[in-house]
């Protein structure tokens, strides 16, 4: 019973990592860009939803839409100002710019919302599921997060595989130059990818804060890194991989704490990650890249 209960905790935590990882992997897979500011866009999403519900008194669902709108806008502005001019620059230059953006967002949030933590009110009102006379509890947030994850995967898959934009995305992710030659507007495609990624970040932010209701300017930083790890773990660019990677990361973290050591939980998570990458060097569901001579 203990094991089951830990497993459920792991899935709860993992579902949060998964939903962040989905946005990460989307941008990462198509634009080939490590967007280290993703975690901070999540934080902004959290604050937006917080402001909407607490200060403006809006209903939760509206607050989520509001957060999505603001984050999408923010994502587009960041993209136009900071990333677009670097389209032809080396990938690492963009990475550093992303770090600059991350510093910027964190410090701007500090000035706007102060360093005092806010207690987030959950936007999820689903009752927790109690099994075996309440010995196993699955929280409403977990259920909603997993459902939202699956819906996002479905939508992303449809977009990527069934639409014209999606075809352009796949082309860009495969080979930017070739896509350009085939008449794909690479710039526009990457911008759209980025906008979608930011909207996903807003959803992730709201769910992250619903599950762990503390909101600070640094809220997004650590989950961002963990989700990045999860995205790589699952296989870069693979959308189901990000989900799987996130869930597994959460489970490993909780089981490691429960059965090995709470002191070493981070070390355990990362050690397992390394071992798995040694066995599967391109992540769980990653594509094997053939190198031609």
């Amino acid at each position: 019973m203990d094991f089951l209960s830990y497993l459920i905790s792991g899935i709860s935590l993992g579902s949060i990592y998964a939903i962040i990882a989905l946005g990460y992997t989307m941008v990462y897979g198509i634009a080939k860009m490590l967007n280290f500011a993703h975690g901070d866009v999540i934080m902004v999403g959290g604050y937006m939803s917080f402001m909407a519900t607490t200060h403006f008194g809006w209903p939760p669902l509206l607050s989520v839409l509001f957060a999505m709108a603001v984050c999408t806008l923010l994502g587009i502005v960041i993209e136009q100002l900071a990333y677009k001019p670097l389209r032809s620059a080396p990938a690492l230059a963009v990475l550093i710019t992303a770090i600059g953006v991350s510093y910027f967002l964190q410090n701007a949030a500090l000035l706007i919302w102060s360093a005092n933590p806010k207690s987030f009110s959950s936007v999820v009102f689903l009752e927790a599921l109690r099994l075996f006379d309440g010995r196993l509890i699955i929280s409403g947030t977990t259920i909603v997060t997993i459902i939202v994850c699956l819906v996002i995967i479905l939508i992303l898959n449809t977009i990527v595989n069934k639409t014209k934009v999606g075809r352009a995305m796949r082309a860009v992710s495969e080979d930017k130059d070739a896509a350009q030659l085939m008449g794909v507007n690479v710039n526009k495609t990457i911008s759209i990818t980025f906008a979608i990624g930011s909207a996903l970040a807003a959803i992730a932010g709201v769910l992250l804060c619903s599950a762990y209701p503390i909101l600070m300017p640094t809220t997004g930083a650590m989950p961002g890194i963990k989700a990045f790890t999860a995205a790589v773990f699952g296989g870069i660019g693979s959308i189901p991989g990000a989900f799987l990677g996130g869930i597994l990361l959460g489970i490993i973290e909780i089981l490691g704490k429960a059965y090995i050591s709470t002191q070493l939980s981070d070390a355990i998570v990362f050690a397992v990650l390394i071992i798995i990458l040694l066995v599967k060097p391109t992540g769980l569901l990653g594509k094997k890249v053939l190198v031609k001579v």
Partner: protein, 408 residues
């Protein structure tokens, strides 16, 4: 292109160096001239007719104003600013406060200290957090600059440094006091501990709590930890405590993770007594926090924002007016530090020209003398030992209906 770029880069470098080197000659402008702004009321001028010799003492402050620990540094800086403005309005000794950011990092803290030294700092108010505090107090000891830290609570901050003093309890004292309190009041038979094993403050309290609990035959049944990187899910820690049958969970941690622990314990229908230390203070004033979650939480804290004494009421009101928030204990610590310095200096004949080392000797003498007793927001009848640690009584509080109620 490359060469051109680097020549511009090199020019920028030279400019940076020149700028910094120039600081030696003319000290940088004070960035927070809260002292010079406050005009002296005319009435007090009539009391002190010869204010030509009025001293303006330069206080340097150091604490995290950005980054993850900013909440503590900003609060301490704000509290200190309020005290400086109040004191300057009295018309006696004038203070000028220059508060510098250290990002909760030893390297940046030493940088901030050096910047303040160039500015002409005479007394150090700081640092706010422990690790930077250890690094900076070693520098202050060598330079003979008196330091009174609001909240760097590790004994290592003051250890072996005769001119470094603390306004807050030391971590070990909190651990010992907590164990004694739990035993004396018979609050529990089985205790579980959840602490942050990547945090000096939390680990410091934990270690002394455990040895004191052993001495007092208090049974510790479960000890689990978390780090700043894993401070979101506490299901494992709570389940272990519950399985071990703990009826009290000791939380020597800050209120942000504590608030998550309270919520998650409630979700799993586990209702032990939660016992916190001064880091727990602030939980009730967190915006939008459901205070019902904290019902019955006990804590040892030096400062209570909703206390009804005149001093606290006026401070809380002023803080809210200026910063729009309820002050936490760090703000009160910062406020007290400036007032303690004022009390120690007001009857002396210090002037703006008194050197830092003269001030240092003077203040060491005053702070360690038996006659120096300080009453502040964070305690009554405070006295200091030669080692620099403060002696004051902790207040045991329990949260009832969303407010603190004295436990005694």
């Amino acid at each position: 292109m490359k060469r051109r770029f680097y020549s511009t880069f090199a020019v920028a470098l030279v400019l940076c160096l020149a700028l910094l080197a120039g600081c030696a000659g003319q000290p940088a402008k004070p960035t927070e001239p809260s002292g010079s702004e406050a005009p002296v009321p005319s009435e007090s001028e009539s009391v002190k007719p010869d204010d030509g010799v009025k001293a303006t003492i330069k206080l340097g402050g150091i604490g995290p104003l950005t980054g993850g620990a900013a909440v503590y540094g900003i609060a301490a800086a704000n509290g200190a600013k309020i005290a400086v403005d109040e004191i300057n309005a009295l018309g006696g000794i004038q203070f000028e406060l220059n508060f510098q950011d250290d990002e909760h990092d030893a390297e940046k803290s030493v940088n901030a200290y050096n910047v303040l030294k160039d500015w002409g700092m005479q007394i150090l108010v700081g640092t706010v957090t422990t690790t930077p505090g250890i690094a900076v107090s070693a520098e202050a000891f060598e330079d003979r600059i008196f330091a009174l830290t609001p909240s760097a609570s590790s004994p290592a901050v003051v250890e072996g440094k005769d001119n470094v003093f603390q306004m807050c309890f030391t971590d070990p004292n909190q651990g010992i006091a907590s164990a004694q309190y739990i035993q004396d009041k018979n609050l529990a038979t089985k205790v579980a501990i959840i602490y942050n094993n990547a945090d000096a403050y939390s680990t410091g309290i934990y270690e002394k709590f455990v040895s004191e609990a052993k001495a007092k035959n208090l049974e510790v049944v479960s000890t689990t930890t978390f780090t700043d990187d894993t401070a979101n899910d506490f299901s494992v820690q709570l389940t272990e405590a519950q399985k071990a049958g703990a009826d009290l969970i000791f939380l020597p941690i800050y209120y942000q993770p504590a608030s998550l622990i309270l919520a998650q314990a409630k979700a799993m229908n586990y209702e032990p007594t939660f016992f916190g230390v001064d880091g727990m203070d602030g939980i009730l004033t967190m915006e939008n926090f459901d205070t019902a979650l904290a019902e019955g939480v006990m804590l040892l804290t030096p400062f209570v924002a909703d206390a009804t004494d005149e001093k606290t009421v006026s401070f809380v009101k002023k803080y809210d007016e200026l910063y729009g928030e309820v002050p936490n204990q760090f703000a009160a610590d910062g406020y007290d530090v400036v007032y303690a310095l004022y009390e120690a200096l007001k009857d002396s004949d210090v002037t703006a020209d008194t050197s830092a080392s003269e001030l240092c000797d003077l203040l060491i003498g005053t702070f360690t003398s038996d006659s120096f007793v300080f009453n502040g927001l964070t305690g009554e009848n405070m006295t200091w030992s030669k080692s620099g640690e403060v002696a004051k009584a902790p207040k045991g509080m329990v949260i009832e209906n969303g407010v603190y109620v004295g436990m005694d």
